[in-house]
Subunit: 457 residues, 2 copies
């Protein structure tokens, strides 16, 4: 945390504890809502939080409310009077209200809807219909719309009149009577144009749009590709139904990256910050894969049992000692590839049609990588491992060859699995990463046992 | 890829091949620069790309140039005449010029600087001084500055006069004569204010600022925390030296997530898209860790060799069969934790001062997780593994107990390593994730061998 912010927090704590509420408000007015929420959650207990929230200047209350985490929001709503709740909700943008509603239990949702304006309630209900991972679920209906026949001057008037409650005013949307999107015009265009010009003449009619049902991951990629600060969302009929703003896209980008990282590390994704997760929710997220992978390791046990006697008999039984090294290195090699391909798929850099290109690239890379690593391994076996173990040159040779084959196999599995998952519309991060290790483990062991026994036995 | 975009690309290809350049230009004017760059790079060979680029409408050329990848940019610059180069550079924002310069070899940089305006050249040189990962390196000096004594009306005049070449006009910066930052005012504030009001009266003087040397990862976090579309960058003296815009922050967020994912999968980070990487660059990124981890696996070989005879003698030698399962499960368990903590550190959710909280949480979680998994393992050994192997109840018991201990140990190592790395100002993703596996492997083996032999031998 910033040292400046630390100082401000100490001041806040002092004013709050000594009940200097006038001073407190002065400090608060200089702070960003996100910082106030951070202060409340990290420095106050539950009872103090509510008391503190009620002290907030009216114009800050809903902004701070949005920034607190879901549990706090739920607690607050349950403690609010209807009047308090209504004040907070009325001041929020609709997409934020919808985000909150989506996380709340049914009885809390009911109270929120009861305390919303009838007009807002209608729009909230419309927004709630969209699936959780769609563009519709992160859009807001509060945008500035203009008509094509307006002059620049009357467009400014309209922005002045209606802009206060809009999430962004910098991109305005030109629609016809049926709400079909005709074009966009930015405040920059308006400022640089002549007052008497018509919107139709300065608007950009080639608009990159989003569809209501488009995956929000796709939405985030479009934002990072095109560098817009807002994008319009249209329905099947081509009518404008809302906009997505860049700040929501940024949240999606962060969340999607976190989720992919969690999935690749064999966990169920969760949006909650780590320190807020209970031991029970950690258990729930981690136990399924841990169990599944433990049980699937039965295959490696079976292979080792099967070859047990043969392995113990040849080469003075030294072969066992290199099983972890071989499986570990193959696992690392496969992981490098699967993670690379999964991320490239997530960023839209690679698609299924690139499958051959990817396979050839990985085959080439895995051969030179495998060669380097297995030559190094041969030298290591010969120079280091022979010091503590009865490694013959024959054993060193077998282990190194198996290592080369295992690395190439692992990289092939690592690139094909995510691509197949993508093709089958499964999530590459879930399917490919945790599963890959098991497949690679089993295949590495089989290659090792078969080759050693063929040569030595 | 969108089907619409696909259709447009086919049209472009057709116009280009049949040399219908007038039609081509009409299609081009309706496209976003990012799409044109994508078309060039995916559908044309190197010679065609240059020819195509020269056909671009003048106002699109630099925007498309910025969107192409570094190799293409270098090829283009080398092929450009001085006049062409100057035209492209003059049309770019300074931060984009600097980004390009940072990737180019010395002789290309020289040509770029030679062909820049003297005024721009001075600013470019100033921007080039900042370290690669700092706020200074991603900022631009092209912002709108206002003075506090201006009226709203004259502020608008100034924006109209100077705004064309600014990266954003929506947030304006109020500075004094020495360029010290006094406050910010948004175009929204200006539009909603009365024309005769003074900037000093409507500006927000509590500005969240960035420092020139602040880590760009930190910059990205501030953007996602505060939801701004631009943030001012000040130097040590408090003078405004530039701004960072949200589109650059979005790129940083994507890059940082990709880099962390690469590091956690034991690779050196690279910014190049996967399909553009040569086999040689893939080799360079992957071989160091693969070698290091292979060599560090010597420890597991040593331990297995050391206990070889004892392990073979007790329990009919079945103990070997469970080594991969134990090491694999412990590795997965440790990885879940280290990846969670590394991501939480990257998002600023966890700091070193939370170390005890994290350890207690992981101890608790690892105990319930370990208990669940080892009970399941006991049942599996008893019901499944005994079918193909001489597993006694004693062996099943030992393996399950070792599994519980190994999971708890792995999760402890997995949470402590990243926190220590962070404290030592090392990169948690590099230090913690690849290293963790080796440590966990070794410790799991030691626990297994010592306990089995103590009980059975």
């Amino acid at each position: 945390m910033d040292r400046d912010l630390q100082t401000v927090f100490e001041k806040l704590s002092f004013c709050f504890e000594t009940r200097k509420f006038a001073d407190l408000r002065i400090v608060l007015l200089d702070l960003e809502p996100a910082d106030i929420a951070q202060f409340m959650e990290n420095n106050l207990n539950e009872k103090e939080q509510l008391m503190f929230f009620r002290l907030l200047p009216k114009e800050l209350a809903s902004d701070v409310f949005i920034e607190t985490d879901t549990d706090t929001q739920e607690r607050f709503i349950k403690a609010f009077t209807d009047k308090e709740l209504k004040a907070v909700i009325d001041d929020m943008f609709l997409d934020d209200t919808v985000d909150i509603i989506e996380e709340m239990p049914a009885n809390v949702v009911k109270r929120i809807l009861k305390n919303s304006d009838p007009e807002n309630r209608k729009q909230i209900n419309e927004l709630l219909v969209y699936p959780d991972d769609s563009a519709g679920s992160i859009m807001t209906t509060e945008y500035v719309s203009l008509s094509a026949t307006m002059s620049v001057e009357s467009a400014f008037e309209r922005i002045r009149r209606t802009g206060v409650n809009k999430e962004t005013i910098y991109t305005c949307y030109v629609t016809d009577r049926k709400k079909r999107l005709l074009g966009v015009v930015t405040v920059r265009d308006l400022l640089l144009a002549d007052k008497s010009e018509l919107i139709a003449d300065i608007m950009d009619s080639n608009v990159i749009t989003l569809n209501t049902l488009e995956d929000k991951e796709q939405v985030a990629l479009k934002f990072s590709k095109y560098d817009f600060i807002a994008m319009p969302v249209i329905d099947k009929e081509g009518c404008l139904v809302g906009i997505v703003t860049i700040d929501d896209a940024v949240d999606v980008i962060q969340e999607e990256a976190t989720e992919d990282i969690q999935k690749m590390a064999a966990m169920l994704p969760t949006e909650k910050p780590y320190l807020k997760q209970s031991i029970w929710s950690i258990w729930k997220a981690r136990v399924p894969w841990l169990l599944l992978l433990m049980i699937s390791a039965t295959f490696t046990s079976m292979i080792l049992s099967h070859y047990e006697n043969s392995l113990a008999l040849v080469a003075n039984g030294v072969l066992y000692a290199f099983v972890p090294m071989l499986m570990g290195t193959a696992g690392n090699a496969g992981n490098q590839t699967s993670v690379t391909v999964i991320r490239a798929l997530a960023l839209g850099e690679v698609e299924f049609r690139n499958v051959l290109k990817v396979i050839f690239k990985e085959l080439g890379a895995s051969f030179v990588l495998g060669l380097t690593v297995s030559i190094a391994c041969f030298l290591k076996l010969w120079l280091i491992d022979s010091l503590y173990n009865k490694v013959t040159i024959e054993v060193a040779f077998i282990v190194s060859i198996v290592l080369l084959l295992a690395i190439m196999m692992a990289k092939l599995v690592g690139c094909i699995l995510p691509l197949i998952a993508k093709k089958c519309k499964l999530d590459p991060a879930v399917v490919a990463s945790p599963f890959m290790t098991t497949i690679v483990d089993v295949l590495t062991l089989v290659i090792y046992c078969v080759i050693s026994i063929a040569i030595l036995g």
